[in-house]
Structures are given as C-alpha cells and as structure tokens.
C-alpha cells in the first residue's frame, strides 16, 4: 500500500513537468505580442515595451523562460501579472469559489444520480426507468449553456426561486443554480451508469444466494446490490471532479462568478503565460489528486483490489 502510494506520488513529477512544458509552449507559441497589445490602439513607446519584456523575462529564449517558471513553482513565487498582482494571490482568489461550486455539483450529481439510478435499475424496463433514461439523454444532448439560460429564465426570473446570477462573494443559495447546471450532464451519466450496474448486479449469483439465506429485499439491495454497483460509479465521480472544475468555466461565465474560469479566460486574452500556466497547473494537480483518491476509494470498496 505504501509502496503503491509512493509510486503514484512519484508519477506526479513527470506528469507535472510534461503538462507544464506543453502548456507553456502552447501559450508561448500563440500569435501576437502581449506586451504590444498592452497599450491598446496607440501602443506603448518602444522603450517601455523593452522594459516590460525585461521585467517579465519575455526577452529570454523559451527554455529559459520555462526554467524560470519552474524555479518559481519550486520556491512558490510565481511572480506578478501585468497588473502587478501576485499570481499566488490570483490563484488564492479564484479557486475557493470554483472548488465550492464543483463540490456542490459533485454532491448533487452523486446523490440524485445514484438515487434515481438505483431506483431505475431495480425496476429496469418500468415507467420510471424509461422516463429517467429519456430525461438523462436530454441532459446529455443539450449543451450546458442552454440549460443554464433556460434555468435562469424559468427558475430565476419567472418563478423567482433562486437568484439569477451569483456575482462577487456568492453565498450557498446563489451558487445553487450554477451548481445544478454544472451537475446536469454528469448527473445523467451517473444515473445511467448506476442503473446499468444495479440491473447487472441484481441478477448476480451472490444476490440470489443472499436472498436464499433469508435476507429481505431492502437488506439485499443495501448490502449486496448497492455496494457492488457503486464501484464503477465511484471511478466516474472521481474523474469527474477535475472535469467539473474545468467545466465550470462556461457555467461561471453564465452566472457571472469570479472563479477559475473567468480568471483563466482573462489571462489567456491578455497573454499572461505565467498566470495561465499556473492556474492550469493547479487544475492538473487537482486531476491527479482526484484520480489517486479514486484508486484508494476503489480499494476500500473492493477488497479484491490490493495495490502491489
């Protein structure tokens, strides 16, 4: 177990280096000169541009810039962006709200997806099952922003149940609608996955044997069907944490939330390579961490899996 954990943590290093190098190269290779664009229509004097390039090491060759960035990562000093803000501070401002949003969405999709999926799978072919399948297909097919706008109009404006947008320092209630929108697609997948898994497990030999030894329906469902069915679902949910955080970019845009999405978008527009790469790197680390968590959870759910 410790060996496994150690090996997995060591794997983070090449993944981190590869991801940052690729990201850095992509931002570096983008067309246009960010410093020239800083001055707008009229442009900055040549000497000022030179000064800015020197300050931000933009006059150095690519590999030197990248190595300087790596030094920044190691010393936890990413430097400042074009507006003079500490990049560490930018990260600290952007992430909490996105993390909150992603976790809320995760809970929503897990609770409703597993709940409805279990119900549908137990009565496969029934009315509930059919309805759930059609609705989930709808969620998968309709783009997130459409769901978002429709929710804003119906739930926010017409019914007035929830605030239409979140704004600065959003509270739980104002994040509820964005979280629902963000969760919609994954909810549909979780539902379908749970349903298939439950239906399959229901006909497993050990379920029949459990019933033969006198367990009633709810005992069999809770102890034998649900736990076994959750194994693939947990795998999906874990991988989804990362997807939710990056997927939040669209949702944040719709609901006017100042999270990772907005910050990242601005940084890309301004060509601030260090900000872009730093934010994305944190996202990469979240992905890796979530995957590791899934693997450990997997072992907890399924004793046959022992990491060797």
């Amino acid at each position: 177990m410790l060996w496994y954990l150690g090996r997995r943590l060591l794997q983070v290093i090449p993944v981190f280096l590869g991801a940052t190098l690729l990201l850095y190269a992509m931002v570096f290779l983008r067309p246009g000169d960010p410093v020239a664009a800083l001055g707008g229509e009229r442009g900055l004097p040549e000497s000022v541009q030179e000064q800015i390039r020197a300050d931000y090491n933009l006059d150095q060759p690519f590999i030197v810039q990248y190595l300087l960035f790596l030094r920044g990562v190691v010393t936890l000093d990413f430097g400042v962006d074009f507006r003079g803000r500490e990049i560490t501070e930018v990260i600290a401002n952007a992430f909490p709200v996105t993390i909150q949003l992603a976790l809320m969405a995760l809970v929503i999709e897990a609770v409703f997806g597993i709940g409805f999926g279990l119900f549908a799978g137990m009565r496969k072919g029934g009315i509930f099952d059919g309805t759930a399948l059609v609705i989930s297909l709808l969620f998968i097919a309709v783009p997130t922003f459409v769901v978002g706008f429709v929710m804003q109009i119906v739930v926010g404006v017409q019914l007035g149940w929830l605030p239409v947008s979140a704004g600065r320092d959003p509270d739980f209630v104002s994040l509820l609608m964005p979280a629902l929108v963000l969760a919609a697609v994954s909810f549909a997948y979780v539902l379908r996955l749970t349903r298939t898994s439950v239906a399959e497990n229901l006909s497993a030999d050990y379920v029949r044997t459990a019933r033969a030894r006198g367990l009633n329906r709810s005992q069999v469902t809770g102890r034998h069907v649900l736990r076994n069915s959750l194994i693939p679902v947990v795998t999906f949910l874990g991988a989804d944490i990362g997807a939710l955080m990056s997927g939040a970019i669209i949702t944040e845009g719709i609901f006017n939330i100042n999270g990772v999405g907005g910050t990242l978008y601005d940084a890309i527009i301004r060509g601030e390579s260090v900000t872009v790469v730093s934010l994305t790197t944190v996202l990469v680390l979240v992905y890796i961490g979530a995957n590791l968590l899934v693997d450990l959870l997997y072992a907890a759910l399924d004793p046959r899996i022992r990491y060797a």
Binding site: D205, T209, N216, R223, D302
Partner: protein, 584 residues
C-alpha cells in the same frame, strides 16, 4: 432455531407443542408443477408437470441434463426463479403449506430458516466485497439470531467450523477471493445450514470443483445433513454421483420427471428410454475403451483382453515426445522489482505414439494445460524440449513454425468461447484453410462440407452462427475446424468437460471414429478419469506440475501405483457402484 409449522394436510387435530419428526408426512410435495419463461419468441415451458416428494430427513436427487428443468424446479421451491420465469400451474406444498400463490413475506420467511440453499458455483455465489464472516452473520441475523455481538461472532465461527473450515475464527475475517473453491463451497454449506433448515437444496454443489475436493465436500455435506436430520434435495447432472449420494432418485427430462425410485433400483433396472441411455453412457458407471470396439466390433470384455495382449513397448512410432519439460512463471511481488518464481510444469517427459491417445490427468493447477500449450507451440518451455516427429520445436524458424501449426491442432474446453460469435460456421471452419492458402475458394467450400459430414453435422449448418447451435454441436464444429488442415495430432484440452453426459458420449464416439479413420493421435487433457478410461491408451497423472504416474490406461485403472492416483480413482463418483453392478 427451526421453525415448526403446523401440519395441516391431515386436518388440524388441535395439538400444540413441538411436533415429533414425522417421517410419514412429506416435508415437500410438488405436484404437477409447471414453469414457463417469457422470451422474445413467446412463452417457453421449462417445467411441464413435475412431481416430487421429499420426506423429512430423506435425501433425494434430481438427475438430468442441462435444460431438463431440474434447477428451475429447485429455484421455484424457494421462489427465486431467474428472470422472467414464473409458475403457471401445479402446487408446491412445504410442511403442509401451499407455497404457490402464498404472500411474498411468507415465502421470504421460509428461505434460510426452513429451506437452505447450497448453490452451484462457489466462485460467483459469495459477494466478493464482504468478508466471509459477514455473510454468515447475515444469514444468522436474518433468521432470528438473537444475542450479543460476541455471541454472534462465536456462532459464525461455529457454523464455519461445522462446515469443515479449519481455523474458522480467523478465516471468517477473510474475503472470498482469499479462499479456494473448496473452502468457499464449505462456507456456502455453512451458510445454507446456519439456521438449521428442515430442507437443504444443493444445486450441483460440487460441479465446479476438482474430483478429490468434490468427494470431501459431499462426504461432509452428507454427514452434516444426517446429523442434523435435514432433508436433502440434491441436484446433479451426474447419474453416478446421484446414485452414490441419494436414497431416492428422480430423473428429469425436458421438464418432466420421467422416472423415480430408489437409487439402486433405477441404476440396475432403468425403465424409461432416456434413463436407459443415461445409464449406458454415464462414463463413471461403465467405462471401456471406445475406439477399437468400433473397428473390431468386439464386446468390451474381449476388448480388454485384446489390449492387454498388446505389448506397449512395441507400439507405433512416436509422434510427440517431451523431454524434461519445465515451465517457470514469474509472479510479480509486492515490491517493485521483486518477483517469485512459480514452477507450473516440472520435469515432464512423455511420448505420444502415432495413432494413439495419451491422456494427461490432473486437478486444476496441476500444470496439464501448460503442457498442452507447450506442445502446441503456443508457450515456450523454460527448459527441456518438445519434439515433433523428432524435431525440436524450439529449433523451428518462423516459416517452419507456421508449417508445424498445420500438423498439430487444438480443441478447447469451452465451445462457447473458442468460436467467434461473429463468424458463420463456414467461416470458422474455413479460416485455417484460408490462412494456410489451401486450395481455391471452391475446393475450400467442398472441404468444409466434407468436414461437416465427418463430424455428423448437416451441411446446412454452414450458414448458421455459433449461438444457434447447442454445446455439443459447437464442439463438433471446433473438432471440424481442428481437422480442416489434416493434422496428425489433436490436442484436446478438456474438450468434453463442459458437455452433458449423453452429448459427451457422442463426442467421444466421434473422436474414436475419427481416430481410426484418419490415424490421428490425441493428446487428451482432462480432470475426469472416467472419461480417460473411455478414450485413452496411455495415461500421465500430474500433480503440482510433476508427473506422479505414467502407464497404460489399464495399468493405471487396475493397479495404480501411487496414492494420489488411487485418490483420484476413488473420487470418481459411482466408482463403488460399478463393482456392485458387476458382482450382482
């Protein structure tokens, strides 16, 4: 712990209190039971008017091939019919109570408490994610166990110990995947009997286990049910096993009980044509070498004498010879870089004579399939050599190896798995011909027709797909495919193990005929000694990768030298009964 239900079929006489075990009133009475399944093409009747009676403490066996409705009948008793199955008629009375149409809760209450179940496949019948002890605990709690946690734990250990599990308290903390098949089946027997039911249904309880383990488990099951006074309803496809283990025998065929009576009477004097065929073809009951009988038209006793006359040393030329064959697998250890060696095959030498059949016998894990794979050239030996016609396989270059494949062909155990479901039968049989560029398209088609004739299948089968054929038919296809390239040697890896007895006998007959017709040599890998007697000239007995005994079939059967071989022989179900038959 047993729940007593009032006996009502004789009319309530008002007596209360513990009823004495009344052996004259049936415990279970099934009358005219009909069960059907709804499929895409309508209703399919699986059981059509089955009758059966089990008295308290009695052991009854239901024998029949797959699809005869025996397991379905058993599932109906505990209301656990799979899928769309439902009871469409008849009655099931348990302890005087009608179960057909009874409320669900009532039937649920009977399960575990009054009727226990030991299922077929120990590998799939324990939930892999819960500890063994937890699953026993469930059975106890669901059936009214009251007591503290410590009591419960003690009782769990007791249940497992009763089922013959050594070191039960520690074992109960383990997970199913840490148990061998035999240990799992013991745990399942423990669970089945945990609540002291009056009736235990054992559905093919040992079919998935090795013969020697099979015997231990059945001995134990028999002892336990006898001591507890539990009635046993034993379901099996093996007539020998049923006769050996049950007092009363029921033969089911196509959803009907065609014969019923005391086990020995049925064996000695089968009335129904199906039972007669079953008795005649059961390999465990009457086994003689098949192939030569066809050639010479001899009766079995003469045949035996004939074989004894043949000096084994002066046999035909050798076609396959293995010399000190070994195979070591590396098993990855817990730490990076660490690994342990596992010797699957250890110093195995044998010769397969041309036109003869050599059987390699052993339990699972004995290395017999690894030997087969090395003979087929699919696996490289770690040391030692396989010589085909005097040429070492390791010395062949790619082109020669390709040519070698034409001369040795395999037939595997599972015809469901070894035929590509997306290939038509024609394509499956033709594939090796096409691969080796044999003949024109027309010639190949003619060859496929010829091959289908050889394995006694209609030529119209060509256009069909594997899922439209029965298991026996599929195995014939696999044999036809193996024959396509006119090989000299066929490696049959458990080729008849998955088949029902009657089908098995037909396929063995076919193999015998083909051997005399085409002069084939067979390397026959099996765990079933009863089959060996029917087909093999020579036997190699393997255990833990080593050869423990090697002799002609008659020598091995008549005077086994090694204890392990004797154990294997003794474990053949019904072995003891044969002696009786001959003596009586």
């Amino acid at each position: 712990m047993t729940t007593q239900f009032p006996v009502t079929n004789e009319g309530a006489d008002g007596t209360t209190g513990p009823a004495p075990v009344d052996t004259s009133t049936p415990l279970l009475e099934i009358h005219d039971l009909e069960i059907s399944f709804t499929t895409g093409s309508g209703e399919v009747q699986a059981v059509r008017g089955a009758d059966l009676t089990v008295y308290p403490g009695q052991s009854v066996a239901i024998v029949g091939e797959s699809g005869s409705g025996k397991s379905t009948t058993a599932a109906a008793i505990i209301d656990l019919l799979p899928g769309t199955g439902k009871i469409t008629g008849g009655s099931i009375r348990f302890d005087g109570r009608e179960l057909v149409g009874a409320p669900r809760a009532e039937k649920e209450a009977l399960r575990g408490r009054a009727i226990g179940l030991v299922p077929q496949d120990p590998m799939s019948n324990l939930n892999p994610v819960w500890r063994i002890g937890t699953q026993v605990e469930e059975a106890l709690k669901a059936n009214g166990f009251k007591g503290s946690k410590a009591d419960l734990r003690a009782r769990v250990a007791e249940v497992l110990a009763e089922a013959g599990l050594p070191d039960a308290a520690r074992r109960s903390r383990q997970y199913p995947h840490e148990f061998s098949g035999g240990m799992r089946q013991r745990a399942l027997i423990g669970i089945g009997l945990a609540a002291r039911p009056q009736l235990l249904i054992a559905d093919e309880p040992t079919s998935a286990l090795d013969v020697t383990v099979q015997r231990q488990i059945l001995d134990h099951l028999e002892g336990m049910t006898r001591d507890l006074g539990t009635a046993l309803l034993f379901i099996t496809h093996d007539l020998g096993l049923a006769a050996e283990r049950a007092e009363h025998l029921l033969v089911m065929f196509k959803g009907k009980v065609v014969e019923s009576g005391p086990a020995r009477e049925i064996l000695a004097d089968p009335r129904h044509p199906y039972t007669q065929r079953l008795v005649a073809s059961a390999p465990s009951l009457a086994s003689r070498r098949i192939q030569t009988a066809h050639v010479h038209g001899e009766e079995s006793p003469e045949l035996l004498a004939h074989h004894a006359d043949e000096p084994p040393a002066a046999g035909p030329a050798t076609v396959v010879e293995t010399k000190n064959l070994s195979k070591v697998f590396q098993i990855r250890g817990p730490r990076p870089g660490s690994s342990t060696d596992f010797t699957a095959v250890d110093d195995v030498s044998f010769t397969l004579g041309r036109g003869r059949t050599l059987a390699i016998v052993g339990e699972s894990g004995s290395g017999k399939s690894t030997v087969a794979n090395m003979v087929l050239g699919l696996l490289e030996p770690t040391s030692g050599s396989v010589e085909f016609d005097g040429v070492d396989l390791a010395s062949l270059n790619a082109k020669e190896a390709f040519a070698f494949r034409r001369r040795v062909q395999p037939v595997f155990q599972n015809p469901y798995g070894s035929l590509d479901p997306m290939f038509s039968i024609f394509r499956s049989i033709e594939e090796p011909l096409r691969l080796h560029s044999v003949g024109s398209a027309k010639e190949r088609e003619a060859r496929v027709r010829e091959l289908l004739d050889m394995v006694s299948l209609p030529q119209s089968a060509m256009r069909r797909f594997p899922n439209e054929l029965s298991g026996g038919q599929r195995q014939r296809i696999a044999i036809a495919r193996a024959l396509a390239l006119k090989p000299e040697v066929i490696v049959l890896d458990e080729a008849v193990s998955a088949l029902d007895v009657l089908v098995q006998a037909q396929v063995l007959d076919l193999l015998g005929d083909l051997q005399t017709e085409l002069g084939l040599s067979y390397l026959f890998i099996t765990h079933d000694l009863a089959v060996v007697r029917q087909i093999a000239d020579d036997v190699v007995v393997m255990q833990n990768g080593k050869v423990v005994e090697q002799a002609t079939t008659d020598e091995v059967f008549d005077s086994p030298r090694e204890q392990y071989t004797r154990d294997l022989l003794a474990a053949i179900p019904g072995a003891g009964l044969v002696g009786d038959e001959i003596a009586g």
